[in-house]
C-alpha cells in the first residue's frame, strides 16, 4: 500500500525536487510574465523615473515648492479629492443598497441608469455639466420658470462647479464594488440577525455594513486617487484662478524652461498618490479586491 502511494507521487515529488526547473518556466510562468513586466518597466517605471531626472535638472523642486500658487493648489486638490471620495462613498453605497433591495422593475431601471452613466464618454458628461451651468441654461430655466430667480446663474468656472460633476463621474467606481460585495453577503447571517430579533438599523450597522467595508474602501480609495490627478473635468468646469495640481502641470507642460518645475510638481502629485495607495493597500487590501 505504501509502495503504490510512493510511486503515484513521483511526478509531483520530482517537480518539487527541482524548483530551478519551475523557476525557469516549467509551467510557463516565466515566459508569460517576462514580456508584460518588461513592458511595464520600460513604459511605466522608466518614464516616471525620468521625471526625477528632469526635476533635478534645473532645481525644479525648490521652484515648485517655493511657489505659493502650487502650494495652494495642493491643498485645493486634496480637499477636492477627499470631499469627492467621501460623497461618492456615501452616495455609492446607498445606490448599491438600493440596487440590491429594489423591486425588480426599479432595480433594472437603476442598473440602466448606472451603466448609461458609466458608458457615457467622460467628455460628454463634462460637457453636459457645462451646458447645465450656462448662465441662461437649464438651472436658470427651471428656477426662472418657478419664479425663483431672474438674474442668470453664475456657477460656471467656480471651484465649486467641479464638485457635483466629479461625484457624478466617480459614482460607478464605488457602486460597482459595493454591489459586488452585497451580492456576496451570507443570507444566513441576515436571517440569524432577524431571527434573534435585530431591528433594521442594528442589522445594517452590525451585519451588513461591516461586511461591505472592504468593497466600500476599495472604491473610495480608487476615487480619491483618481480625483487627485483628474485633469479634464476640473479644467473645463473649475475656476481658472483656482487651478488643481494637474492643471498647473498641464499649464507648464509645453512652456520652455518650466519642464523641471512641471516634473517636480508631477512627482509631488505622484508621491501623494503612491503614499495613499500603499497605505490603503496595507490597511484595506485594496489590490486584492481588484486583482484576486
Amino acid at each position: 500500500m505504501n509502495d503504490t502511494t510512493a510511486t503515484a507521487t513521483v511526478p509531483a515529488g520530482g517537480r518539487l525536487a527541482s524548483p530551478l526547473r519551475g523557476a525557469l518556466g516549467g509551467n510557463g510562468a516565466l515566459w508569460l510574465l517576462v514580456p508584460p513586466v518588461t513592458f511595464l518597466v520600460l513604459l511605466l517605471v522608466v518614464p516616471l523615473g525620468f521625471l526625477v531626472y528632469l526635476a533635478l535638472q534645473d532645481s525644479g523642486f525648490s521652484k515648485a515648492l517655493g511657489d505659493e500658487i502650487f502650494r495652494a493648489s495642493i491643498w485645493r486638490t486634496l480637499v477636492l479629492a477627499a470631499t469627492v471620495s467621501v460623497l461618492t462613498l456615501i452616495f455609492g453605497t446607498i445606490y448599491a443598497m438600493a440596487l440590491a433591495i429594489a423591486p425588480k422593475g426599479v432595480a433594472i431601471a437603476l442598473l440602466i441608469a448606472l451603466f448609461t452613466l458609466f458608458w457615457t464618454s467622460l467628455l460628454v458628461r463634462t460637457y453636459g455639466w457645462m451646458l447645465l451651468y450656462l448662465p441662461q441654461g437649464p438651472i436658470y430655466s427651471v428656477l426662472h420658470g418657478l419664479g425663483l430667480r431672474d438674474a442668470p446663474v453664475e456657477v460656471f468656472q467656480k471651484t465649486a462647479a467641479a464638485y457635483p460633476a466629479m461625484v457624478h463621474v466617480m459614482l460607478p467606481y464605488v457602486v460597482l464594488p459595493v454591489y459586488a460585495a452585497i451580492r456576496q453577503l451570507d443570507p444566513m447571517h441576515l436571517r440569524a440577525a432577524r431571527v434573534l430579533g435585530a431591528g433594521p438599523l442594528l442589522t445594517l450597522r452590525k451585519v451588513v455594513l461591516p461586511q461591505l467595508r472592504s468593497g466600500i474602501m476599495a472604491g473610495a480609495v480608487l476615487v480619491f486617487v483618481m480625483s487627485l490627478g483628474f485633469y479634464v473635468t476640473p479644467q473645463l468646469l473649475g475656476s481658472p484662478t483656482g487651478p488643481m495640481v494637474a492643471s498647473l502641470i498641464g499649464a507648464s507642460f509645453n512652456t520652455p524652461g518650466e519642464t523641471s518645475t512641471a516634473a517636480a510638481m508631477s512627482l509631488v502629485l505622484l508621491a501623494v498618490v503612491i503614499v495613499v495607495y500603499v497605505a490603503a493597500d496595507r490597511v484595506f487590501k485594496v489590490s486584492e479586491q481588484w486583482g484576486r
Binding site: L44, A98, A109, L117, W119, T120, L190, G291
Partner: protein, 278 residues
C-alpha cells in the same frame, strides 16, 4: 435568496434607500438629458430647451473634417493600444496563476494595478520627455500615445481575465500536465478556450477606455493627429455649439450599443461557465 433576506432584515429602513437610490439614478442621467435635446435644435444657437426639431447638426458633423479626421485617428490609436494591452494583460493573468502566492506575487500585483492610479498628466510628462530624447522624431508620431494608452488599460484587461481564470478549475491543468501536456499545450487547448469571452470582454473595455481617454491624448498626440476625445475637449473649451451636442449624442449611443452588446456576451459566457461547473 440573499435579496429576500436583505429586504426582510432591513424592513422599513429599505424605503429611504429606495427613495435616495431613485433620486441618484435621476442625477446620473441629468447631463445626458441636457446634451441630447440640444443636439436637435432647429435654431442656430445652442439652447435649452431646444427650438423645434431638425437633424441639421448631425449632417454638419459629417460634412466637416473637424470631426471625421479625429474619428479615424481615435479608431486607429485605440485599436493598436487595446490589442497591445489585451495581449499583455492576458499573459500577465495566465502567468500570475502559475506563480506561487507569496511576497513576489504581491509586489508584482501592485505593479500591475498601479497604472490605474497614476495621474495621467504626470505620466504624460514623463513619456513625452522620454520620447524627445529618443532619435528620429518618434515623439511626432502616435506611438507615444498608443504605448501610454496600452499601459493605462493594461490593468483593466488583467483584472477581467484574472477574474475569469479564478473560475477555471486548476485541476484541469494538473490533469493535462499528468497526461504529459506541456505548458503551451495547456495554455492553448485548455485555458485560452475557457477564458475566450473574458479576453474579448477585456479588449472591448480597453478599446472603449482608449477611445474615451482625453488627458494623454491632449499632451501626447502629434499636432496633425487629433483624437476625437481631444477634439471634443478643444471644442468644449473654445465654444459651445450644437454640433458638439450632436457628436456627443452619437458617441454616447455608439458606446452604449458596443459596451452593452459586449457585456451581454460576457454575461452569457459567465453564466454558461457557472452552469457547467454546477
Amino acid at each position: 435568496m440573499m435579496d429576500r433576506e436583505l429586504r426582510d432584515g432591513l424592513g422599513l429602513a429599505r424605503i429611504p434607500f429606495l427613495v435616495l437610490g431613485v433620486v441618484l439614478g435621476l442625477f446620473m442621467l441629468v447631463p445626458l438629458a441636457i446634451v441630447v435635446p440640444t443636439s436637435w435644435t432647429a435654431g442656430q444657437l445652442l439652447e435649452f430647451p431646444p427650438k423645434g426639431f431638425s437633424l441639421q447638426w448631425y449632417r454638419a458633423v459629417f460634412d466637416d473634417d473637424t470631426w471625421t479626421g479625429p474619428i479615424m485617428v481615435s479608431l486607429r490609436v485605440s485599436l493598436f493600444a487595446s490589442l497591445l494591452s489585451t495581449v499583455m494583460g492576458t499573459a500577465t493573468a495566465l502567468g500570475m496563476r502559475r506563480l506561487m502566492q507569496g511576497r513576489t506575487s504581491r509586489v508584482m500585483r501592485s505593479l500591475f494595478i498601479m497604472p490605474l492610479a497614476i495621474p495621467y498628466v504626470s505620466y504624460a510628462l514623463g513619456i513625452y520627455h522620454l520620447f524627445l530624447k529618443l532619435p528620429s522624431g518618434l515623439a511626432d508620431t502616435t506611438l507615444p500615445l498608443i504605448l501610454a494608452q496600452a499601459t493605462i488599460t493594461f490593468p483593466l484587461v488583467y483584472v477581467v481575465v484574472a477574474g475569469a481564470l479564478a473560475n477555471v478549475d486548476p485541476r484541469l491543468s494538473s490533469a493535462a500536465s499528468t497526461m504529459g501536456a506541456r505548458w503551451p499545450t495547456i495554455l492553448w487547448r485548455i485555458e485560452l478556450p475557457l477564458i475566450k469571452t473574458a479576453i474579448i470582454g477585456g479588449w472591448v473595455f480597453a478599446f472603449a477606455t482608449c477611445f474615451d481617454e482625453a488627458t494623454l491624448a491632449i499632451f501626447l498626440s502629434p499636432v496633425d493627429q487629433t483624437t476625437l476625445a481631444q477634439q471634443l475637449y478643444r471644442e468644449a473649451s473654445e465654444s459651445i455649439a450644437p454640433t458638439l451636442s450632436a457628436v456627443s449624442t452619437m458617441i454616447t449611443m455608439l458606446a452604449i450599443l458596443v459596451l452593452g452588446i459586449g457585456s451581454l456576451i460576457m454575461g452569457r459566457g459567465t453564466a454558461a461557465r457557472r452552469g457547467g461547473n454546477a
